[in-house]
Each structure stands twice: as C-alpha cells, then as structure tokens.
C-alpha cells in the first residue's frame, strides 16, 4: 500500500521525476563505469607486471631482493623444488631463472640490460615471454647461444634476427664474463621499457656463462588468476629453511600496490563527489514534491497519521526514486562496459604518455560486483540520509499550518 502510493506520487509530476531519475542514472552510471575503468587499468597493470617475470610469488635466497647479484643466487635449487612439490598448489606453474644485470653490445651500440636465463618450456606457462616472440624462433631447452631480444632494443641496436649480440656480466667468481649470442627471436611486450630491459637466454647458457653450476637466482610461481598468493607463500615459508625468502607480487611490486591503493581511494572519492553533485538535486526535487503536497500531509495528519508515518512515506518515495535511477544507471554501465569490453579503449594515440605512466595501451573496463555494490550502496544510503531533511520538513506540518497555506 505504502509502496503503491509512493509509486503513484512519483508519477504525479512525471517530467520532474524523469529529470531527477536521469540525474541519478547518469551519476550511478559514471560511478560504476569509471570505477570499472579504474579497476580495469589496475587489473591489467597487475596482470602485465605478473606476466613480466614477477609471477604470483617468488622464492629467493635471502638478500637477493636488496642486492640482486650473482653472489646471492641459490646454489642448489633442489630444496625449494622439493618444497614446491610438497606444498599443495592446484594449477600452479613454476619456473627457475637466472637474472643478472648485464651489458649488451654489438659493434656500434651498447646498453645495460637484465639478462634472464630461462627454462623455455616451463617459462612459457609462467610469464609473457612464451607467447611474445613475433620474429624468428623461441629458445630451445638448453639453447647454448640463442638469445631473445625485445623489438625496441633491436631497433636502437640496428640489428636483426641472426646477428650477434655480446653479453657481459659479472660471473660468480667476480670476474667479467662475456659470451656472444645469436639473436634467435624478437619479442614484443606491453611496455617498450620491457622490450628494452630484458634479454632472454636459456638457463643452461646463463649458468655456464656465469659459472653458476646448478645455481638459480629465483623461482617464480604463477597461481591461477585470482588466487590469493598469501597462503601459498606461508606454506612455502614453513616448508623451507630461513635461508630462503618468499615474496608475493604485492611485496615485489610495492609501487604497483601503492598505485592500486591510490586508485581505490580515488574511486571512493569519486563516488562521494558524484553523490554530492546528485544530492543537491535529490534534496531539491524532494523538497519541491513535499511543499506541493503540504495540504495533503496536513490532511494525513488530521486523519491520524503520526509524524513518523509521514517521514516513512517520504523516505519510501525517495528510496523508490533512487532505486529506479540506480537500476537505470546500472543497466547503462553494464551496457557500456559490454559494448567497450570487446575492443577496449585504445590509447595508442597517447602511446608515449601511456608508456610514461606505465599504463596499458588498451584499457578494458573490469566490472566487479563489489565495486558496483559499493557505488549503489553509497547512492542509496546517502540518498536516504539526505532525504531525511525534506521528510522531516513534511513531518513538521500540523493540520492547521497546512490549511493556512494556500
């Protein structure tokens, strides 16, 4: 009954209701849509970073993270391998790597790079490099002289597949080791920085060049999408001696973690700002509706309705108004996300800017249930709170004062 009455009251002035509904719908739409864009950027950045050799978590020798040099490699990876086998991690993949800073050079150019020794077949399941080779071929297991180089580096070095590239780095014995590789393939990456920073050789080649024996710098573990790395990290820590350090991507990428947090804060602020902008309209519309019906409220009071009853009446009306607007806003946002979802928003026009900010080149909005719920609750709860003002105004009417108003 109350609902039916509220519904009819809403449509007494349908134009006004439509306009305020549009305002609520646009507001809710912008909240959810922008929330989805921000979440999309964040998720993609995490995914790209995880794929760019970070993984869900990594096992190192203690000290490697602060000082990633040859001395801090794990001399014998069998212990962590055994731990990895013992800890239950459904669908997890892992791969061993050697990673050192090195200088790459040919006859005319040289540059500092990260030399990464990988197990090609295992690495393919863990990081981006498996599917990133666009020219030439990938590495074969134990490949002695093959090297994968980023497209951007190939460009600055004015070289191509089949040419030589000399890598120099400090070996385990402290002496400079150098080895000539042949460019086997060229890879592409989301960020140009990645293409300039990394060169890949086989694990065996790296170990031989650096005199590491069986030693590796890190073991990267990739958990299935969305899995929480913390329990696995704890289990591994329990299974391994103190010498080893297990770090999740959140710890490995403190900047990214801070960025995601900043994003979340920003989204929350955005919700609030949009709500305030909307709030003025909601109060105004309800006030108008209430003042128009002063006589009616007076009559209801005369018929024996309590002030509380009138407050409820007005709140039900505003709750209904908000709910309809929210439904429309949600539908719009879902439709927009679905429409954009296929191709994403292409920022290639700003390629250098996107690169500078470390953002993905194409943004795919990520609609999350929690994010949408948060937006809707913000609007609904705050909306009802501001509606209290007109509601209390209506409740304060006495039959006499209402009749006195013409």
């Amino acid at each position: 009954m109350t609902l039916r009455m509220a519904w009819r009251n809403l449509w007494r002035n349908s134009r006004r209701t439509m306009v305020i509904l549009t305002a609520v719908a646009v507001g809710v739409f912008s909240m959810i849509f922008i929330g989805a864009l921000m979440a999309g950027v964040g998720e993609q950045m995490i995914r790209t970073s995880i794929a760019t050799l970070v993984g869900s978590l990594q096992i190192h020798q203690h000290g490697y993270r602060d000082d990633p040099v040859v001395e801090n490699t794990m001399e014998d990876p069998s212990e962590p391998q055994a731990a990895l086998a013992s800890v239950r991690m459904p669908d997890a993949r892992w791969s061993r790597r050697v990673r050192v800073s090195a200088v790459a050079g040919n006859a005319r150019h040289s540059a500092g790079v990260s030399l990464v020794g990988i197990e090609p077949e295992r690495e393919a399941a863990v990081s981006f490099i498996g599917g990133a080779v666009t020219e030439g071929r990938g590495l074969s297991p134990g490949d002695p002289y093959g090297i994968l180089v980023g497209r951007a580096l190939v460009g600055t070095f004015e070289t191509r597949v089949g040419r030589k590239l000399v890598l120099m780095s400090q070996a385990a014995d402290g002496e400079m080791a150098s080895r000539a590789f042949t460019i086997a393939g060229v890879f592409r990456a989301e960020l140009e920085a990645t293409e300039k920073q990394f060169v890949f050789v086989s694990l065996a080649a790296a170990q031989e060049m650096l005199g590491l024996g069986e030693g590796v710098s890190e073991i990267a573990v990739l958990l299935p999408d969305g899995a929480d790395p913390d329990p696995v990290a704890r289990a591994l820590a329990a299974a391994l001696p103190e010498r080893y350090e297990i770090l999740t991507w959140r710890e490995l990428l403190p900047m990214l973690t801070a960025y995601i947090e900043m994003n979340d804060t920003f989204t929350a602020i955005w919700y609030l700002v949009v709500f305030i902008a909307m709030g003025f309209g909601i109060i105004n519309t309800l006030l108008m509706a209430v003042f128009e019906r002063m006589r009616e409220f007076g009559l209801m009071r005369a018929l024996g309705m309590t002030p509380g009853g009138i407050v409820r009446e007005v709140l039900v009306e505003s709750g209904l108004l908000l709910a309809i607007g929210m439904a429309a806003g949600n539908a719009l946002a879902v439709a927009a996300v679905a429409a954009i979802g296929e191709n994403g928003i292409d920022l290639s026009a700003f390629a250098a800017g996107v690169e500078y900010a470390g953002m993905p080149r194409v943004i795919y909005p990520a609609l999350s249930f929690a994010g949408a719920l948060e937006a809707n609750l913000t609007v609904w709860v705050l909306g009802l709170i501001v509606s209290l003002y007109p509601a209390l105004k209506a409740a304060r009417i006495t039959p006499v004062s209402a009749m006195a108003r013409v």
Partner: protein
C-alpha cells in the same frame, strides 16, 4: 526592470535557489581545486623534468635523440652559443656529452650513462647541484672526479672518496677507460635516474671519449616553458643559416616536449581523462539544475499567461527565464570560485601529504608534499565549463514557454 524582475524571481523560492546555487558552487569549487591540483602537479613534473634532466630545449646533432650514439655530435658548440647569445629569452645554457659505459667498483659492475657536464655552467641550467646528498658537486678544474646517483653508489657499494672504473667507447671507436673518484652522490627521488646516472667534468669527458672538442647537447633555459616555441623557431632559423654557410646538415632544436615525449603526452592524457570525469560530474549537476528551472517555470505558468496577455512575447519570456538561471549560475559560480580559491590557496601554502602514494609521485618528479597552484586558467576553465553546460540545461525549460498559449497558461493551476 527585467533584471530587477529576474533578480526577485530568483529569491522567490529561497531554499530552492540556494540549493541550486550550492550545487553549482560545489561543482565550480571542486573543478577549481582539481584543475589547480592537476596544473600544480604538471608544473612540478615539468619543472623537475626540465630542471633535472633536459633543460627547456636542446640543440643536438640530427638523430641523436633517437639513437644516442657517441659519434652524433655537435661539432662546433661555440657557434651554437653565438646564436644563443643573440636571443634575449635564452637565460642560460651549457654543454653536455653522454656515453654509455660500464661502471665497476671493486666487486660490482653496471652498465650506466656517463654524462660530462660543465661544472661552472651546469648550476645555471639544472638543479643537480642542489640534489647532492653526500660530498660535493663538481668544480671547474676537477679531473677524474664523479658525481654519482645515490642508488648507483649503493649498488656499486661505493661512497665519497672511493674509486669507480669506467669503461666505454670513444667517439672514434677507441676504448675509453679510466678510474674516477667519487666526489659526491646525488638523489633526485626518481629511482631510474638515481640508479643509472654518473657525472664527470666535461673537459675530462671530452678527453676520455676522444670528443675533439665536440659535445652532444647544448642545453638552454628560457624564463618559462611558454617562451620556448619562439626561441625554438628563431634558433632553428639561425642554425639553418649556419648550416648553409658551412654546407652541413642543420642541427636539430628540440623542446622539452620532444626531449620527453612521454611526459608531454602523459600530461595530455591525464588532462583529457580529467576533463571526461569533470564533464560527467557537470552533467549530473546540470540535470539537478534543469529540474529546478523546470519546476520554477511550471509553477509560474499562470503568471506567464498574464504576462503574455499583456503583450509580452514568448521570446521576451525566454530571455527573462534565461536571465534568472544565469543569475543563479553566476552567483553559484562566484561562490564556487571563491570557495575553490580559498581551499586551493590554503593547500597551495600548506601542501597535501600523499602518505604512501608519495613514493609513486616521486617517480614522476613530484617530491614531498604536493602543492596545487591557483592560476587564471585553473580558476576559470572549470566555472566556464559549468556555466556553458548550465546554460544549455536552462535553455530547454526556458524554450518550453514558447509552446505556451496564454489561455491555457491562465487556466493552469
């Protein structure tokens, strides 16, 4: 009288008008603050980038910017300086030369960029001198001395007074090898830079890398970034003439945007996405406002009937209504600009603490507290945008009176 009428109509329903103006004021204040904030951030980013890294513009050999090869040099930097000296807006300039080299300490080796700077002129162009954390900045006459990025020093495990071996390739392809002593370390807060930069005196650099008096960059400073385009045009012309005389390829003039394309585009991207956000916000506000105007008009239909009976044309009524809404908008705007400026000026003085996000901002050259900067554009752009959109939001209801017929309007209750 129309103005007076409009003014009084605005105050006929005080609460409603105040709420509407508050909505407008809120949007304006927010935009003033946000734009000042963004502009402040951009300014800090550009300033840091320009003052620490590139200068406002550079003269380089063609292709040097892309390839950064040692052999692409400015052969006769003195000639470039003679051109610069004739341009009054160039307030300072210096030479730099760069070479990729291996830097080794006793137990570490890293590939880094060695830069030769003129210790006497560099402080006029960049702020590197002020970034020195330990030891001292380079001085004229210094020989094999180096100023090292703090993170590089940490990675190399060297401190002031320690030796670093440099190994690179000279301009003529010869091996360049030497030992330099760390004279100081510096920290810009930008990790990538602090991890890979090492400065030595330009004279010493030229000797070491067999530069034969050539440099890679002539770095110039203008009073502000706005003066750059004019200087760039003038300089390009002068260099063109110079090259025709000598029958060589002209040198390239690059402004800070060309030197750091990522920075300029990143700012542009941020600005565009910001504008999209603001537009959405203003549209939400506009709908609230449209409702107010619509209601105000709806209530007064009878009155419009009387006005029309008296011979008021609908065009005049529309103008009256638009005047009313623009009055509200202007008052809201004024209040919003006042409030926005007050808040902005407060934070401009005090700064905003970004807590844990400060680390990220530092990478983009915003160190410590973030200071929004109130400027004429940041004060005006937002409110003008609001004004523009509310005008359209008010126009629709105002145009509705055209459809009114005086008899119907008067029977309206």
């Amino acid at each position: 009288m129309h103005l007076r009428m409009a003014w009084r109509n605005v105050w006929r329903n005080r609460r409603r008008s105040l709420l509407t103006m508050a909505a407008i004021a809120f949007a304006c204040a927010l935009l003033v603050f946000m734009l000042s904030f963004q502009f402040g951030a951009y300014e800090a980013m550009i300033n840091t980038a320009v003052k620490v890294h590139t200068g406002y513009f550079q003269v380089q050999a063609p292709g040097y910017q892309e390839k950064r090869e040692v052999r692409r040099v400015v052969e006769n930097p003195a000639a470039v300086v003679r051109c610069l000296d004739t341009i009054p807006d160039v307030t300072a300039h210096t030479f730099r030369a760069n070479a990729f080299s291996l830097a080794s300490s006793e137990d570490r080796t890293y590939g880094i960029s060695v830069t030769g700077i003129d210790p006497a002129r560099e402080p006029g162009v960049s702020t590197i001198q002020t970034l020195v954390r330990e030891g001292m900045f380079l001085e004229p006459g210094d020989g094999p001395a180096a100023l090292v990025g703090a993170l590089l020093a940490r990675n190399l495990r060297v401190g002031v007074g320690d030796d670093v071996t440099l190994l690179g390739q000279g301009r003529d392809g010869s091996i360049a090898a030497t030992v330099v002593t760390v004279k100081g370390t510096f920290s810009s807060g930008q990790d990538d830079f602090d991890r890979s930069a090492l400065y030595i005196p330009l004279d010493y650099f030229q000797e070491l890398y067999a530069m034969r008096g050539a440099v890679h960059e002539v770095v110039g400073v203008t009073p502000s970034i706005w003066a750059v385009p004019a200087v760039e045009r003038r300089l390009a012309m002068d260099l063109e003439r110079l090259s025709r005389e000598k029958k060589t390829q002209p040198l390239a003039v690059l402004d800070w945007k060309a030197l750091m394309p990522g920075l300029a585009q990143g700012i542009y991207l941020d600005l565009v996405s910001g504008l999209i956000f603001y537009l959405m916000l203003i549209i939400v506000v506009a709908f609230s406002i449209m409702n107010t105007f619509l209601m105000a008009i709806f209530e007064r239909t009878r009155e419009f009937g009387v006005l029309m009976a008296m011979g008021t044309t609908t065009g005049r009524l529309t103008r009256l209504l638009l005047t009313e809404s623009m009055m509200m908008t202007l008052m809201g705007m004024a209040a919003g600009m006042l409030l926005g400026s007050a808040v902005t000026l407060y934070f401009e003085a005090v700064g905003i603490d970004f807590g844990s996000a400060a680390d990220i901002l530092r990478q983009y050259g915003i160190s410590g507290r973030m200071h929004p900067v109130l400027t004429a554009p940041s004060l005006l752009i937002g409110p003008l945008l609001v004004c523009f959109i509310t005008f359209w939001a008010a126009l629709w209801p105002a145009l509705r009176v055209r459809r009114l017929n005086p008899v119907e309007a008067m029977t309206h209750v």
